[in-house]
């Protein structure tokens, strides 16, 4: 596989047939804008054995937009979100990768800001504000991923996986890991932070996070008490993590300004 500079936008999909056009459209617009800046890009949809009409739709969209950079990878059996994201990491053609959930939407004009941040900082990941919209509201009403990395990440996750990563650094640390008690994106953030990788907050809106009835952050996490024990056992066994300064503490960066 040829290694070229650029960005892969990976969209894991499982039965989001009606929402795929929005996420894919925003991703293709982002790729077009990157190409205008001389940065290559692609959109890879990883279909995790959907049973609704997703795959049929995806094949049609791929035929229409292959030249625009759209590819589809389809699993023969359901592997789960971790497997989908890791497949995105392995299948990406370019050094940087953005994970965009199929029910969310990228702001195409702003992806370049995050790419430039990674280029300039050599960080493992760059994330930015995600405005939360609900199905019934005409505008955003809340925000996540809106603060820099701090020790409180080991108490609860406030950063979504919808971010831009240095693909090779993520593969180097082992990619996403399935854990019965810890959500995979939270696990990766803690893993990166604990291993001294730099994670940079970019004060720009990266995209929209749509709250749907079955959105993962709306699901009542009955395993939470067990999850925190698991987090403590893996990452904070002596309960000293909050008093240890991380290599990635409060890293805030804007490519037009530098570090703040």
């Amino acid at each position: 596989m040829t290694y070229q500079a650029g960005v892969t936008i990976a969209i894991p999909n499982w039965n989001h047939e009606f929402l795929l056009p929005r996420s894919i459209s925003s991703a293709l617009q982002a790729v077009a804008l990157l190409r205008a800046e001389g940065i290559r890009g692609e959109v890879v949809v990883i279909d995790d054995h959907s049973r609704d009409g997703s795959l049929a739709l995806l094949r049609k969209l791929e035929a229409l937009h292959y030249a625009d950079g759209l590819r589809v990878v389809a699993f023969g059996v359901n592997g789960g979100l971790v497997a989908s994201r890791n497949q995105g990491l392995l299948n990406g053609r370019f050094p940087y990768i953005t994970f965009l959930d199929a029910d969310n939407e990228l702001i195409p004009e702003n992806l370049l800001c995050f790419v430039r941040t990674l280029q300039q900082t050599n960080a493992a990941a760059a994330y930015g504000n995600l405005l939360i919209r609900s199905v019934s509201s005409p505008c955003a009403h809340n925000v996540i991923s809106n603060e820099s990395m701090q020790a409180k990440i080991f108490k609860g996750n406030y950063i979504d996986a919808f971010a831009v990563f240095d693909r090779l650094q993520i593969l180097d640390v082992g990619g996403y890991q399935f854990d019965e008690h810890i959500q995979e994106d939270h696990e990766l953030w803690m893993h990166l932070a604990a291993n001294g990788r730099r994670i940079v907050f970019v004060p720009v809106v990266l995209g929209y996070y749509y709250l749907l009835p079955n959105s993962m952050c709306q699901v009542d996490d009955k395993s939470k008490p067990v999850g925190q024990s698991r987090v403590d056992r893996v990452f904070n066994q002596l309960r000293i993590r909050p008093s240890m300064e991380m290599n990635t503490q409060h890293l805030r960066y804007h490519p037009e300004i530098g570090y703040l």
Binding site: C113, I132, C139, V143, N146, S148, V204, I257
Partner: protein
């Protein structure tokens, strides 16, 4: 009875300015600005926390947000006792506020200022809020509006500055703790002005100089130097012109834009009415084409307004600040 201005005799008045020290940095900053302005009036100033306040007498005492001074002190009752004791060692004490008078934060400042027997509350703002005061608190001797003009150093910095707008590549910045209304406004700005705005909306927390999720003053100014329009709305429902934000944009060469619910909310007598607008007008008005012109007008209009030293001199000459001894001598 002739009121003698204190400038007419003894030139070196001794002033103590109490700051929180911790909690929110901008009240420390306010204290430093007061000190600079009072020094320009020929006074000797000491800036300190309540815990470190010297034991000797002063002619004037200023408290830069009594609520936060007491919070930083750690014991409200003991702190108030210490302030009353300071009041006995000072000729006059002014409690200073940078708050909308219709909010609970100002009501608390008023309550604490009364309990510590302050002579007045100085509202360091951009517009006189006396007509917004609750009737129960409308005690003329207590509220005083002081236009929060520039210190000598700020004035020199502004007069000597030539702006390099080539660095100003960020179309707008929205900085402040998040609320549902603010998030909706950010969404609107992304859709109508530009998606490439600088957005910094952490969860509410103290604005400390280090270690806070919020930006400190240096970081805030760094962002504004790269930004054309600083846009914000208050985190409460009342009209208020946040002086720190207007001044920060002035001194970094940007344009402050205060979003209001309705233009009818803007009192007729306030400065810079053209810098306040409804959200629906932002897309049409906040363009790069008009930026330099609007900035020029803003800076010229501010230069025509009094400095902080001039305003403090005006307020401190009022009868309520003249000591009984001075009045007695004046006969």
């Amino acid at each position: 009875m002739k009121v003698i201005s204190m400038w007419e005799h003894q030139s070196r008045r001794r002033v103590v300015i109490l700051i929180p020290g911790t909690v929110n940095y901008f009240y420390n900053q306010t204290g430093e600005r007061l000190a600079a302005a009072l020094q320009a009036l020929g006074m000797d100033t000491e800036v300190c926390t309540l815990a470190n306040c010297p034991d000797h007498d002063f002619d004037y005492g200023f408290i830069s947000n009594i609520s936060e001074v007491l919070l930083a002190f750690g014991d409200e009752a003991a702190g108030l006792a210490k302030l009353r004791e300071l009041r006995r060692r000072c000729g006059h004490v002014a409690s200073c506020a940078i708050d909308c008078v219709q909010t609970r934060w100002y009501h608390r400042v008023h309550d604490l200022s009364t309990r510590c027997e302050a002579d007045c509350i100085l509202d360091l703002g951009l517009h006189d809020q006396s007509h917004f005061l609750d009737p129960w608190s409308r005690t003329p001797a207590l509220y005083r509006f002081v236009f929060s003009g520039l210190t000598p150093e700020e004035k020199r910095a502004l007069d000597g500055r030539r702006w390099n707008d080539a660095e100003r590549s960020i179309p707008w910045a929205f900085i402040g703790h998040n609320t549902p209304y603010r998030v909706a406004l950010v969404d609107h700005l992304i859709q109508t002005v530009s998606p490439q705005g600088f957005v910094y909306v952490p969860t509410l927390a103290p604005y400390t100089d280090k270690g806070s999720p919020h930006l400190n003053q240096r970081q805030f100014e760094t962002v504004l130097r790269h930004t054309r329009y600083q846009i914000w709305c208050s985190h409460h429902a009342h009209f208020y012109m946040e002086p720190e934000r207007f001044r920060a944009s002035l001194l970094t060469g940007g344009v402050p834009i205060r979003i209001v619910d309705s233009r009818n909310d803007i009192p007729k007598s306030v400065p810079f009415p053209y810098l306040m607008m409804e959200a629906q007008d932002a897309g049409e008005r906040l363009t790069s084409k008009v930026f330099s012109r609007v900035r020029g007008k803003f800076q010229n209009d501010w230069r025509a307004l009094p400095t902080l030293a001039q305003e403090l001199g005006r307020v401190l000459d009022l009868p309520s600040f003249v000591s009984r001894e001075t009045l007695a001598r004046a006969g």
